[in-house]
Amino acid sequence: MTVGFILLVHTALDRAAQVARHWALSGCPVVIHADRKVTRSAYAKLQRRVKGMDNVRFVTPRRHCAWGTWGIVGATLSAAETMLAEYPDVRHVYLASGSCLPLRPVQELEAYLAERPRTDFIESVTIEDVAWSKGGFERERFTLRFPFSWKSHRELFDRWVAIQRRFKLHRAIPDPIVPHLGSQWWCLSRATLTAILEDPNRERYDRYFRRVWIPDESYFQSLVRLHSTSVESRSLTLSKFDSQGKPYVFYDDHLQLLRRSDCFMARKIWPHADRLYSAFLSNDPNVTKNAEPRPGRIDRMFANAGERRVLGRPGLYMQGRFPRNDRENGRTAGPYSVFEGFGELFVDFDTWLARVTGHRVHKHLYAPERAELAGGEQVYNGALTDSAALRDYNPCAFLTNLIWTTRGERQCFMFGPRDNQFPAGFMAADPNAQISVIAGAWAIPLHRSGLPRELMRKEAARLQRIEAGHLELLRARWVKARVRIWTLADFVEAPMEKLQDVLDEIVPLQGRRMTEVPRMADLGGFGRFLQDLKNDGMNLHLPGDFPADDFPEGPPRTMPYLVKQAE
């Protein structure tokens, strides 16, 4: 009573021989099929490596085992016939490849199978319900013909598929076969395998499957449904495929992971993974656990790798990830807030905001003189510097770098019409951006700048033109940022309510009101100033309607309602 192994090999023959010897010395018969492509000298060497083992057989003649063709199934069938004919003791037959590595002692596998004498371990999924394969066609594998090799005659292959689709040249699936798919690596009971091999209709089935696409993933998987009394639809071999359909490879550093998986077999193993081979090719009874295989952790590791390859880390731009516009899966690494006009309307708004929210608050990051980083720093996270020239060389990279290197800490910064406008479009299309604008607030510092009147009007016109363009951008249909826009006049009507709205989004205050309010800049004479600009002939519209004599009884230092709010 034992388990026999069918070993399909084509490369890394030394490793295959090593594994075959291990099984043979543990008392398990091994039937080896080597691909026709293996050179005669390499084949002879393989035979020498297992010389003297009376429970190792080779399948002759050797077949071509090109990927996705009948050769692999044909080789398996011949090997299975040899196995059943020559080793009547064998109760289960295990199909393995030359890059498989047994992870647990043979005795454990034998005991496991002896407890389940009638069970067939083969992943077998009906194509009706589940998308099993990655990107490959499912039903068409069974209804089209595939006379051309996918690897060497790709164009012919594709064209022939297209022609068959176009003219609806479908072949009938022979009764009573119900197409099933699954991993190529199975372990079948003697009874089931015998039934498959001795089926009176086998010749008909074989003829059909010869032209099925990738029959090694469907032949046994479908036929087992006709003959088995107990299908356990999972493979005992741990084998995972990446998004491109390539099998994941195991290396020395996976040793602990493989050990803890309690799987019986894994593939593929990198042929030079010396530590894995020396660690697992022993029948050390001390490692016996009689546990059920738990491939969960390895599954997760590979799932993560697949996700990294396909989705990547949002907001990261680097040598291996440089997404095209709108393919970013996250333009930036996290949410951030842009305040426009707040720094002008309130005194020390940045320090106040930092205190209230606990976030990192910068002044004008895109100021023409330098990047005004929080705390007046010259160098910041990631060794970003305050150099305006470096920043303006690639303004969007400056932003994405800042957001990436400060992950986990929300960044807030001031922005306005004096600043480099280049990144505005990038931010507007970024769902991570929260942009709040008090239009026309740039007039406040201008009011107190003491510039000659002519220059002042010119500067006001310039800033208004830039801001008008900016507001138009923010109102575009494609904007994804959370945008709020008020005129200055609107905002000062009820500043705290509006500020509260913005802050509620970025600091969940749980319904609490702010206890500390920012101090508003001195607006005394501001209405008059605006009126003077208009009188000089400027079409000043962005700040909104300010009465020319806003505060007839003299400029208040703080607005009365702010004091009330503070209590």
Binding site: R308, F322, L384, Y393
Partner: protein
């Protein structure tokens, strides 16, 4: 890309290959051990000038990583580099007195050697101060990486240049022969790199890091390129265009994903900023054999007089490749 464009690129590639062929005459063989190369061997290609003190560690590092044969072009060294290399069993050595600049900074020489010897091999082209790190490099040799690249149908592997620097003045500590240079220059900039796409050659153009910040803050366009593709499954039809920044045919430069995913990539730790850098700068501004009239070295020279410290409180100290992967400088991609 229009057909005409593709054809132009083809002509350009042929031109570079012919150039490499012509420049072969400048190379005089010192030691030819190429007979020892077997199928599947990983080959390294290097040009150097007066780097004697760096050589033992360089060779040792890459031998351990799985390089089986070194192709080295010595550009008129007079410090014993040539004699040292000629004695190494796994080095094939050529020497030349010809102009480094007119060999397009050594590219023509190495293109020729690769054309002759690297067909069908994985070829690693690195300077003696560049040390490749890649995902899992602490547990898997480069062959594991190249086997995986082969299995995934990939022909080239990118590794951006990561400038490493010491804390304190550059010449405060003296590099000793055989020493790990990153014991001294163990710091780097983690997040100030700027990337754009070069539509002509389809490669990425990366700038930034300490050199952009300290030497080129006022002229960022001139900041050195940091994008590199040093590891290629060589075919005699290939050639490097400009240092190892890009190759022809252009498909080899597509080492990045444009749909949001990450492709596997590594980094070349750059041990440029050691005490040896000061002398090198002096020499290069008189030789004028480097790119754009050695403008890079002129910029260094201007700043070096002030004994700069490249270190900032936001510099990162190098630990391992996992750190680089977390920082987003390299990626495992779907290699697990």
């Amino acid at each position: 890309m229009s057909a005409l464009d593709s054809y132009r690129m083809r002509l350009k590639r042929k031109k570079y290959r012919i150039r490499a062929f012509r420049k072969r005459r400048e190379l005089k063989v010192v030691a030819d051990r190429t007979g020892a190369i077997k199928r599947g061997h990983l080959l390294a290609f290097t040009t150097l000038r007066n780097e004697r003190v760096r050589l033992p560690y360089f060779l040792d590092y890459y031998r351990k990583a799985g390089v089986r044969h070194f192709f080295m072009v010595d550009n008129a060294s007079d410090d014993g580099s040539r004699e040292y290399l000629a004695d190494q069993e796994d080095v094939s050595l050529w020497t030349t007195e010809a102009s480094y600049r007119r060999a397009r900074f050594g590219v023509d020489w190495l293109n020729w050697l690769a054309l002759r010897h690297a067909h069908g091999h994985w070829a690693l082209t690195v300077d003696v101060d560049e040390f490749l790190v890649y995902p899992f490099c602490d547990t898997r040799p480069i062959n594991a990486l190249t086997d995986w690249l082969d299995g995934s149908g990939l022909r080239s592997f990118s590794a951006m240049l990561l400038d490493m620097y010491p804390k304190g003045p550059i010449d405060a500590q003296t590099y000793a022969e055989g020493q790990d240079p990153f014991e001294i220059a163990s710091w780097f900039d983690s997040g100030n790199y700027m990337i754009s796409r070069n539509d002509r050659f389809q490669n990425l153009w990366i700038q930034g890091g300490p050199r952009a910040r300290a030497f080129f803050a006022d002229a960022p366009t001139n900041a050195p390129s940091l994008n590199k593709i040093p590891l290629v499954k060589w075919d005699r039809a290939y050639c490097y265009v400009n240092s190892t920044h890009m190759l022809l045919p252009r498909g080899l430069n597509l080492t990045y994903d444009e749909e949001g995913g990450e492709k596997t990539c590594g980094a070349l730790l750059h041990a440029k900023f050691l005490n040896t850098f000061i002398d090198k700068t002096e020499e290069e501004i008189t030789r004028r054999e480097h790119f754009a009239g050695s403008r890079e070295y002129l910029a260094y020279h201007a700043v070096l007089k002030e004994q700069p410290d490249l270190w900032t409180k936001w510099s990162e100290q190098y630990i391992n490749w996992r750190q680089l992967e977390i920082l987003g400088l390299i990626s495992k991609g779907n290699w697990a």
